[in-house]
Symmetry: C3
Subunit: 332 residues, 3 copies
């Protein structure tokens, strides 16, 4: 494995193998496996879990890492090709990526969506440019429309909880004060479809996920024997659900138009997960969220603090699965 | 030892044991003692000594660490329970603390006083909430009204200097352009009382330390054979002193009222430590300060650069005593 | 070696020895050479290469490091002596440097020019004060008018490329939206002179380097058999050149006067390196730049992406030569 960019680049069996390796490293630690190996971590955007779990994961395998954060002690960087750089960015990724790659054995990059042009963000143009500039093993720490480390952790979390491969997985839009990127909903949707689940996307009008994201998930479902559907009806969606996976995202219909988006979103403030949402779900229906989550805005305290919530387990699994990814990238 | 929250949680003998361990690790380094152990460091507020000395201390014991700084590359976090999180904080400590704890073997937290409500700060409510959310060994890197690592380093510094257990310790208020927290004065006062010293708090009118802080120190003095008194008279306070420990702090009487505090503080600009302060002290009276210190505002250059000053020794002892704390927390 | 402050402190043979050691460590890694050693890194200014390459270099030798960044999670620091510290800085370097030094085995410091008073910046007063406050091995990570790590990497880069010792080295001013420090042009000029090259400084009127910088380079050239000259004529400068080393810098004539500097600089926007600049140079003339570089402002895309460009190699050599410096400082 030379790159970990998208769970869709791997077969279901390959994903299962990664999760098996993650579990093996949990049960039989290998504290010297990556001795002498260095991971570079380049964060264009904030992080808590990714920042700390990648560092800790390297340490647990005997390796080390360094962190570079443009705009926070490091120059701002330009990602667009052909620009006349007379603005705020002092350095171009055409230099920054190969230079950082020369110091480390693998490079991880976080670069969120710009949120201006949907087609551009779906194309992952700057992220792919940066990935292609790196001659070393490369990890996606969250790109415009993907977050494969989160998806892999979520997959393992459901395995840990014995959620059936063909169980019902509801990805529900929830309210947030402003439009957030499509990376996690796209990654979670695809992951559940690839796992072979009965996937339902529950979202208000105006928040249907872009067709390329839905089509990719449907293709994954077809390959694995799962299904993908969408609805605006909460009761239908949650009937018999094994998992409710909540996520905030911006309206693809108003992409890049903050004013129109705010107007569309404003009446949806009641899309906040409450215990009542689970009335028709399976009694042991799990609640999942990638974090960070705004309490009592996106999800009620009672759900996050109740027995359904698996959010801490998901986050803990981030380090666990990433150790498997790093092991494969750096040791094979 | 599972937590290092407050020197008051330990007997004088237990503190002496920690200092003995610190000295043993200085003289007989154990560069592999904490191999494979990871310390997470969560800083809600700025730091120089704590940030670097905890990282270096882990390294000197063969362990590693990672740093998370909300607002500097990481989401801002909410510490209050029950909040509707529609403001600037994207994540709640109810998630952040257990998640970070899942990646590391011990967690350190710095969270200064809010400085709005004295009773709330004295209660250490957010800090205790966060400490209780952490299932792993936990270290106080400075809370609203405590700084046990500083206190332990100061205790060892006085031992190193052969300051008698029953020596005279003067904690003096000094001027600063704005109100600073009560953490260090409270911790230094209690430490000296617990050590069994003759403790005098020297401060202008309006700057008496809150009664719960004084009462706690008096109780420690009673247990150890020391005394605690307070005065506004510099000559009385410093007569025969072994140590002058200077610290800036805000008026408890005007707590949370910046305007009234500024008016109270403005005429006190001459509360700046000068060599003349030591006229009635013992000739070898030591000068101590936790740092950072504003030169020629709180303390004159001549004192900081003169032979009385132990400020560098105190700071150097931070790493030394923290290594003992980490050793006890992670190795027993 | 106890300090690495200026390439001028070393003879040409000593520099060659350092480069030999760097090459040896490249070919025969010593992953435990600095086991147990800690490097402190104090950054007063932004960094990408220095920040990551020093950390990675320590890791590759089995050592560790910590980073402190005043203003980014750490107090702002005062560097001037005798100040009444009632402004934005909470801590003085007279405390900060010895304290940090007490935690580590070697300290690196980056502190750019203030850009207000040319004589003061040329004197390196604050940097020398800080260096002298450090009792441990010390590395210059870029000071007001020096950047010895960059110079050493550039020297090795030319050796790697078999650029003759007596080859023609053109240091050319290039356009930048604002005045940048003199550190890299001064260091590159001296390095090429010390290497024994035929050095030409190409710059517009008003951008002649200060006489003390030119004099120092001329002395180095005399000692090594090289030459130093300057011109405003591009064709003359580049005729037969082996290397074009581009750098942005502020006008010494308008030092500290941003308005006058902007007026002087504004008509010079065409001082942007293009392929046409190389018309009279040797066909294999190399292009060098220390990075970061503003594409299509200081240097055209076609040059940076073309076969002449050695900018990534220079940056990669930063880690390589710094490992030799760290090895000498910490192991001898």
């Amino acid at each position: 494995m030379h790159r970990f960019l998208d769970l869709a680049d791997f077969s279901r069996d390959q994903v299962a193998d990664l999760i098996d390796l993650a579990r093996r490293l949990q049960e039989h630690p290998e504290p010297h496996a990556l001795a002498g190996k260095i991971l570079g971590l380049l964060f264009m955007n904030p992080s808590l879990r990714t920042l700390s779990s990648f560092q800790a994961g390297m340490m647990r395998l005997g390796g080390t890492s360094f962190v570079v954060t443009p705009g926070q002690g490091t120059w701002n960087v330009e990602t667009r090709d052909g620009t006349v750089m007379n603005g705020g960015a002092a350095e171009h990724v055409r230099e920054a990526i190969p230079v950082l790659a020369s110091y480390c054995d693998a490079l991880g990059l976080r670069a969120f969506a710009e949120g201006k042009d949907l087609a551009a963000d779906l194309a992952e143009t700057p992220f792919n440019l940066m990935a292609n500039l790196c001659p070393k093993p490369f990890v996606n720490l969250e790109s415009a429309v993907n977050h494969p480390c989160q998806a892999l952790a979520d997959w393992k979390t459901m395995d840990d909880l014995h959620v059936p491969r063909a169980g019902k997985f509801v990805l529900s839009w929830v309210y947030h004060p402003r439009a957030l990127p499509l990376a996690v909903p796209a990654a979670a949707l695809h992951m559940a479809a690839q796992r072979g689940m009965e996937v339902v996307v529950l979202r208000p009008d105006g928040y249907a996920l872009p067709e390329p994201i839905m089509a990719k998930a449907r293709a994954a479902a077809t390959a694995s024997g799962g299904t993908v559907s969408e609805t605006t009806d909460r009761a239908t969606a949650l009937a018999g659900a094994h998992v409710l996976y909540a996520k905030e995202w911006g309206s693809p219909a108003c992409y890049g138009n903050a004013e129109a988006e705010a107007a569309l979103r404003q009446p949806l403030v009641d899309w906040r997960v409450q215990e009542s949402w689970f009335a028709g779900a399976r009694p042991d229906c799990h609640f999942m969220h990638c974090l960070p989550v705004r309490r009592n805005v996106a999800v009620a305290d009672a759900v996050l603090d109740g027995p359904r919530s698996q959010v801490i387990r998901e986050a803990a699994n981030r380090m666990v699965v990433q150790m498997a990814v790093l092991y494969r990238l750096l040791k094979g």
